[in-house]
């Protein structure tokens, strides 16, 4: 077991799991309490358009994916705020359009796009030192924003109408959360792939929500659970020779099922 840590790729993967869990735990909590899961799913899938754009223009994957994800999250957010009745349909359209743009741009790119599978299902075992640095920078930004604006974010998440009457710039915070979602999606794609991003956003936060009664604790527990799921998934994937991203998510899904059952039984007994 100890010799496992002598491999650089395992060390990097475990460091990545910690860094990814910090961002996904905090931002995922905001996604869950603000009911933004579908928007986050739309942004994650639309990000594939950014990957296609990067491949087509010969840029590094991040260079195309970051602006594309930010633009799609702001577009989805704008439509969701202004066309509430049609929001789910339009999110679905942006979701599909982003993926279609990505696939078409990759088709038009000469040569073979070898990284396709790694972006769909993640490649946490292959993260570079450079990616770890980007993840650490994102974590610092997310933590700083939450510390600065916690009471305003709490007020707007709980009751946006009341918060706007109190003079809180609700629209600004809404778009700020969506930008945090977009940037976290880009880094989570590296770890678990765009298809599974939504699970890492929502599962740890949803489990934490079952057992906590305030937002700070929910964020802390989401981060801790994310660490357990990603690190546990990486080790299980290594020993069982499975895809790490999918193993992480299966681990998280089983934990969610158990937690939900425990909560239900416990709640019934208390009643």
């Amino acid at each position: 077991m100890i010799e496992l840590f002598s491999f650089e790729f395992i060390r990097n993967a475990l460091i990545a799991s910690l860094l990814v869990s910090i961002a996904s735990g905090i931002v995922g909590t905001l996604v869950v309490v603000n009911r933004l899961s579908f928007i986050a799913g739309g942004v994650a899938h639309a990000a594939y358009g950014g990957l296609g754009l990067s491949a087509f223009l010969g840029w590094s994957p991040m260079a195309g994916t970051i602006p594309f994800s930010l633009a799609s999250s702001l577009l989805i957010g704008f439509i969701s705020r202004n066309q509430k009745e049609r929001a789910d349909t339009i999110i679905g359209v942006v979701w599909a359009a982003g993926m279609a743009i990505g696939i078409i741009l990759i088709d038009l790119t000469p040569g073979y796009f070898t990284d396709l599978m790694s972006y769909l299902f993640g490649s946490i075992m292959a993260v570079s030192g450079n990616t770890l640095l980007w993840m650490a920078i994102l974590d610092i930004c997310v933590i700083a924003l939450i510390c600065f604006f916690f009471k305003e974010i709490l007020a707007m998440s709980y009751d946006p109408e009341f918060a706007s009457i109190r003079g809180i710039p609700v629209r600004f915070f809404y778009y700020m959360i969506l930008c945090m979602v977009a940037l976290t999606v880009v880094l989570l794609i590296k770890a678990v792939g765009l298809i599974l991003v939504i699970a890492l956003f929502t599962i740890p936060a949803s489990i934490a929500e079952l057992f906590t009664n305030n937002l700070q604790r929910m964020m802390i527990w989401s981060v801790l659970l994310g660490c357990v799921f990603t690190a546990g998934g990486i080790l299980a994937a290594y020993f069982l020779d499975l895809t790490a991203g999918a193993t992480i998510i299966m681990f998280a899904c089983c934990a969610y099922g158990i937690s939900y059952g425990v909560k239900k039984v416990f709640y019934r007994k208390r009643r």
């Binding site: 600065f148 604006f149 709490l154 709980y158 918060a163 009457i165 809180i168 009664n213 604790r217």
Partner: protein
């Protein structure tokens, strides 16, 4: 407009579509009033409240709150939404809900002071909720949650308090209790504007009443005549049959279908 005018609407029109939901509404509310806004479902009660609070903007006419545009002054107002409109499952404790009533556009990243925490506890104590201060909001009853939202609105000492159907999910005892708190608050000089379709209980406590059904009929003495109720609801007999109290419905004894 006098110095005592808290709310003033001048020929206000508003519509979500080309069909106007509020038509040519002009009226003013004076400081210290306890105004009940009544009307049928879809008559524009909540729309009117939203216009006064600057959440909606009139297509024509002018709305003034505390002498200025609502967008500039509404942070001085307290607002209690319908309890059912707020997320019950949100991970937040009672004390923190009340603290959100002290957030403002100024002082980002500055934590709340001890004195502000004390202010929140004092208001919870006043409404009998101090023992629940650490409870998750989901663990409270509908009536208790409504009182928490009332505490949140009052913690900043607003000069005017708006309530949208404050007793919609509350039983009769809780309803009386909430209205009694409102009377106490009104007695300290706070102007209260309350939207409801429950005329019966409201009529015992209000000072003035406005009937809204696209148009608005304002009755500064809190009394309604038969014509106003008919104009507003379009069905006088049904309302009387459900026990419209004497004070609101002044001249019901002339109605041949009335049942006291």
């Amino acid at each position: 407009m006098t110095n005592n005018t808290v709310i003033e609407l001048d020929n206000v029109n508003f519509g979500y579509t080309s069909d106007l939901a509020i038509r040519n509404v002009s009226f003013s509310v004076q400081a210290g009033d306890f105004l009940g806004i009544i009307g049928p479902n879809g008559g524009g009660k909540t729309t009117l409240l939203r216009l006064i609070l600057g959440m909606l903007h009139p297509v024509q006419g002018k709305v003034l709150l505390l002498g200025d545009s609502p967008l500039r002054t509404r942070h001085n107002a307290g607002y209690v939404p319908q309890e059912t409109n707020v997320n019950k499952e949100f991970p937040i404790i009672v004390h923190d809900v009340v603290m959100t009533g002290l957030t403002t556009s100024k002082g980002f990243w500055r934590p709340f002071t001890k004195q502000q925490h004390g202010q929140a506890d004092a208001i919870l104590d006043k409404l009998g909720l101090l023992p629940f201060r650490k409870r998750k909001i989901a663990e409270l009853s509908g009536g208790q949650r409504q009182k928490v939202l009332l505490s949140r609105a009052l913690v900043s000492n607003p000069s005017v308090l708006f309530l949208d159907e404050p007793t919609a999910s509350v039983d009769a005892t809780g309803e009386d209790e909430i209205y009694q708190h409102l009377v106490d608050i009104n007695n300290t000089g706070t102007t209260i504007v309350l939207v409801t379709h429950n005329i019966g209980i409201m009529s015992k406590y209000i000072k003035s009443v406005a009937c809204v059904n696209k148009h608005l009929h304002y009755h500064p003495d809190g009394k309604l005549d038969e014509q106003s109720v008919t104009d507003t609801f379009g069905c006088t007999v049904d309302i009387i049959a459900h026990g419209l109290p004497h004070r609101v419905f002044q001249s019901h004894h002339n109605c041949k279908d009335c049942h006291d």
